[in-house]
């Protein structure tokens, strides 16, 4: 069985002491930043990227992935105990999770969140295994034409499914694409938009851009808001949920996992959409919907399962097609490229130990999270007591040093400074910066494939419609656009996202 040899290879990679350690470091850092509101996984991964260069590619991916799903666990802890979502994905958990905590059931809420996440994570790992091989076989048939169309589809879908105004997000993708073109043109060797700055000839590094836009811009905006946190001050005994709790939570957990696994694969699905959908579904299915918002355990189990399943299955398009589903996956693509690995369908065959090791590590990582998280809850709670006035200067400093560390150049620090200002501007005018990062990372690939396709077809743009796979992909894009224009659907989407 091909599948089992692959999995065996994966586990043999993931279970080496070294990789287990990196996985542990990843999930611990992830949980920590997940617990702390105000710093998310995107700047953290960006910050740690420079220090993973020296590592083996599989170790570095294992650690970075651990940060991502670890943050989902941590985010729910804050949501339950403080009623502040540590991450956007745990906004829904606040509703019933915090209510449970207020009723003195913080322990069971935390435990159910962890168990649901572990269950979902394990199932999602299997989903990844099952979907990866067929998708990558399909993808190996791709030429530049199909690849270009796929990139277009990926970008469109990511924008449409993510929250915020679609028109603004599209504009941000285009802006990102444009910034991605800065540097020496590979085909002609001409410098483009470098303004005579030698550091720009290799293009704009996405790490300082990400840290400026997501890390520092967010801090500046945070400092303007009033911070109010009410920590539940009860000792967390009785961690174990009762039999009745488990019985109520289990079906919600199953449904949440299914929803998360499906939505996570979609570009733009990532971490935000699944928990919202799951919560809405649970509320609809419940015999007594009025319990929701008053500490219903299903309202914790479902969304938590969905959010973790989604976080993991969003790796599928990345691993099989080289298409990032969200801004964080775009960073992972960047990490691969920095390791000298060109992301795309060939990664599956050329770097099997990387892909399968990463997949297997998600399971071991989830197990670690389940085991360490509940006993460590006290530590996480005490981290919450660190006041923001001490936290943010530390983040600023680490962003500076981390950015410097990418290529030991201060130029990147200046880039980050500029992006911090721009990021703040974007927040002020209500524009979501994530699509820009997608465009920035995919820009060079998009141009390369477009040029190659046009060269092969001798300048005939209809080539994208005459190749069947490409035509189907672009057809989906067109359908999405049409659907978006139709007012009825537009309202539905609005409602769904507003909930």
């Amino acid at each position: 069985m091909d599948l089992f040899t692959n999995l065996a290879l994966g586990f043999s990679t993931a279970l080496t002491p070294e990789n287990l350690m990196f996985c542990l470091i990843g999930v611990l850092i992830g949980t920590a930043i997940g617990v702390l509101p105000g710093i998310g996984p995107i700047p953290t991964v960006a910050l740690l990227l420079p220090f993973t260069f020296g590592l083996d590619p599989s170790s570095s991916m294992i650690m970075l992935a651990g940060i991502f799903y670890g943050a989902q666990y941590g985010g729910s802890t804050t949501a339950i105990l403080v009623n502040v979502p540590g991450e956007t994905s745990s906004v829904v958990t606040c509703i019933d999770g915090h209510e449970m905590a207020k009723q003195g059931r913080a322990g069971p809420a935390l435990a159910i969140a962890a168990i649901s996440s572990f269950f979902a994570g394990s199932v999602a790992t299997v989903v990844i295994v099952a979907l990866s091989i067929p998708l990558s076989i399909l993808a190996l048939k791709f030429t530049a034409v199909e690849y270009f169309s796929l990139l277009v589809l990926g970008l469109f879908a990511a924008v449409i499914l993510a929250h915020g105004s679609v028109a603004k997000s599209l504009a941000m993708v285009v802006l990102g694409l444009l910034i991605g073109l800065v540097g020496i043109d590979v085909n002609s060797g001409a410098a483009r938009m470098t303004f005579g700055i030698p550091e720009l000839s290799d293009g704009l590094d996405f790490v300082p851009v990400a840290m400026g836009l997501f890390g520092l811009g967010e801090i500046i905006a945070n400092l303007e808001r009033k911070q109010e946190r009410v920590l539940i001050k009860q000792s967390i005994r009785d961690l174990m949920p009762s039999k009745a709790d488990l019985k109520a939570a289990f079906p919600a957990m199953l449904r949440g996992t299914a929803i998360g696994s499906m939505l996570g694969v979609l570009p733009g699905g990532g971490a935000a959409l699944p928990p919202f959908t799951s919560y809405a579904v649970e509320k609809k299915l419940a015999k007594d919907p009025s319990r929701f918002g008053k500490g219903a355990i299903e309202g914790v189990a479902g969304p938590e399962a969905a959010n973790n399943a989604g976080a993991q299955t969003s790796f599928i398009p990345l691993l099989t097609l080289g298409i990032p589903a969200n801004a964080l996956m775009a960073l992972m693509i960047g990490a691969l490229m920095m390791q000298g690995i060109q992301p795309g369908p060939q990664v599956m065959t050329e770097q099997p130990e990387l892909v399968w090791g990463l997949i297997a590590s998600m399971w071991t990582g989830n197990l670690m999270l389940l085991i360490i998280n509940l006993p460590l809850v006290g530590i996480w709670v005490s981290m919450l007591k660190i006041p923001y006035r001490l936290l943010f200067p530390a983040i600023v400093l680490f962003c500076c040093i981390g950015t410097y560390g990418i290529s030991n150049s201060l130029f990147n620090v200046w880039v980050m400074l500029a992006c911090a200002g721009i990021g703040y501007f974007f927040i002020k005018i209500g524009v979501e910066p994530a699509p820009l990062l997608l465009g920035l990372v995919l820009g060079p690939q998009l141009e390369e494939n477009f040029r190659r396709a046009m060269m092969l077809s001798d300048g005939d743009a209809t080539v994208f419609l005459t190749h069947p796979i490409s035509a189907v992909l672009l057809g989906i894009v067109a359908l999405m656009l049409v659907a978006l224009m139709s007012p009825a659907l537009f309202r539905k989407r609005r409602e769904a996202l507003a909930e």
């Binding site: 504009a171 285009v174 444009l178 043109d185 001409a190 938009m193 303007e224 200067p393 400093l397 680490f398």
Partner: protein, 151 residues
């Protein structure tokens, strides 16, 4: 607010896009465009800049004339923005010349001023602790090639 509402958020976003697009078009005038089959280095930047220009005009027009919800900009506070930018700028200026220790001390203290509640002594003590951690972690453990002291 007067009778006609201006949606400042949309209008500013549009203006920003037009600015970037215009800058790109200016910066790429010397690059050859080529043709669709043999694209020159200027083809894609200019094509994308033109799309961006269209977006920019759309948002500016929408913000100025259609008004929408007439969203303004929330008040900009005096300290956070300049405080954080200055902290980063000082790091960039000092890191290589004066060393990591002095640079991170200054960055943390300046960043402290950006917050709504500032306690000077706490901030200084904290910066010393943080600097020690940063030097240990980045220079000693992770071997970042950066001088620690100016000498």
């Amino acid at each position: 607010m007067t009778g006609r509402k201006i949606d400042l958020q949309d209008a500013l976003f549009g203006a920003f896009l037009i600015l970037v697009s215009g800058g790109t078009l200016l910066a790429t005038t010397k690059l050859s465009i080529g043709n669709a089959a043999e694209m020159g280095p200027g083809y894609m930047p200019r094509a994308i800049a033109l799309i961006l220009m269209a977006f920019g005009l759309f948002f500016t027009a929408k913000g100025l004339f259609r008004g929408g919800e007439g969203r303004g900009i929330e008040r900009i506070h005096l300290r956070p923005l300049p405080g954080i930018l200055l902290a980063v700028g000082v790091f960039a200026l000092l890191a290589e010349s004066a060393g990591l220790a002095i640079a991170s001390l200054s960055t943390v203290v300046i960043a402290g001023f950006a917050g709504p509640e500032h306690r000077f002594f706490e901030s200084v003590i904290f910066s010393v602790v943080l600097t020690a951690c940063a030097v240990l972690l980045f220079v000693k453990v992770l071997n970042l090639p950066i001088p620690v002291w100016p000498w």
